[in-house]
């Protein structure tokens, strides 16, 4: 079920980073650290970690107090695992990973869902955009193709409410550069509930550039599945986004160019 065989993908990683202030992790010398928030994902997390390590990236799995073997499976696969002491939500988990990555000499942080909907092999493509001269601060791996009615409606509403011109606002597949990471780890942004509109508005507010790339279709290519499963959840989510969007909208417009 898991892929333990790929953990030796970064031999010498520890030695290279030995001078760093913080304990080097497997793959800490990596240029890119992939943060994977996981909650009860023991079925897929091992495979994903294996793929990430095989690409030469560092893998940090943030276990959001799972009740299954997510931690063990992720460790077995070679990831660094941060264990949250209680269920803190996916954004708090991602932020924990970012705070960890901040101590490592990495240039970019990638976030990826642990349920297999995002393919780690798409990461180099997203990073390619970061290499350009006027590189964006954040690249979103968008997955617009297969969306059901609920999601299309939600997306449209979100675009309208937030004033953001982004197709896939809810995608959890993103690349952040150091500027974006340094901004997002602040405690001011700890209470954001979802990793989408709130985070994007805060990035836009700071004047950072956000780009979007369409990534290949996975069999289960659907971000935020738990949210879009039921209408009451969609309603709460939209209300949340409406409030956060409308309360910050004007500031965003005023400061971005």
């Amino acid at each position: 079920m898991t892929m333990p065989g790929t953990s030796q993908a970064n031999p010498g990683g520890e030695a290279e980073a030995a001078g760093a202030r913080v304990v080097p992790i497997r793959g800490a010398a990596a240029r890119v650290i992939v943060v994977i928030p996981a909650r009860d994902e023991e079925a897929d997390v091992g495979t994903i970690v294996g793929k990430v390590l095989a690409l030469g990236f560092g893998a940090v799995v943030v276990d959001d107090h799972s009740s299954d073997g997510t931690r063990a499976v992720a460790r077995e696969a070679g990831a660094t695992v941060l264990e949250l002491p209680f269920h803190a939500g996916s954004w708090a988990a991602i932020q924990a990973g970012m705070r960890y990555a901040q101590h490592c000499p990495c240039s970019h942080v990638v976030t990826l869902d642990a349920d297999g909907q995002h393919n780690p092999e798409d990461i180099p493509g997203l990073l390619g955009l970061m290499a350009a001269n006027d590189a964006p601060n954040v690249v979103i791996g968008a997955c617009v193709g297969r969306a059901n009615r609920r999601r299309r409606l939600a997306w449209r509403a979100l675009r309208w409410l937030s004033g953001l011109r982004i197709d896939d606002l809810t995608s959890g597949f993103r690349v952040y550069d150091r500027t974006a990471v340094d901004l997002l780890v602040s405690q001011q942004h700890t209470l954001i509930e979802y990793q989408d509109v709130g985070v994007l508005l805060c990035l836009g507010h700071a004047g950072l550039n956000i780009a979007e790339v369409d990534v290949s279709m996975q069999p289960r290519c659907h971000g935020m599945s738990r949210i879009f499963n039921s209408w009451p959840m969609v309603a709460y989510y939209l209300l949340y986004s409406a409030l956060i969007g409308s309360s910050r909208r004007r500031r965003v417009k005023g400061e971005t160019t």
Binding site: L82, E83, L84, F86, A88, A96, R99, Y100
Partner: protein, 120 residues
Amino acid sequence: MIPLQVFAGALAAAMVVLILWMIRRDRLPVSHSLWWLTVSVMIALFGLVPELLDALAGMVGIAYAPSLLFVLAILTLLIKVLLEDLELTTNRRRLLRLAQKTAILEEEVRQLRERVEGQS
């Protein structure tokens, strides 16, 4: 003294005693007690001098003075609850920060230990 004054005075006095007792037992921090002591003073004030309420009601144009009392009481509680919510949010933020930090430190300790054991 009319019965109302006795009742209000006793109520306010009991509240003050209760709050002082809770401070003494370290159940209530002094900062929180100030709010409740102010409330007891207000109870005493409006109970012992009912004319005050009538005058105040006349000033803000409320015909039935006792309803002003309810308005004030509800307003006081609303403000208190809102302040509590703010504090709860601050605490939740701190809790999440601590949880993140704990997770990070735990992992670092684990790795350090692994490395030390590997060396020896």
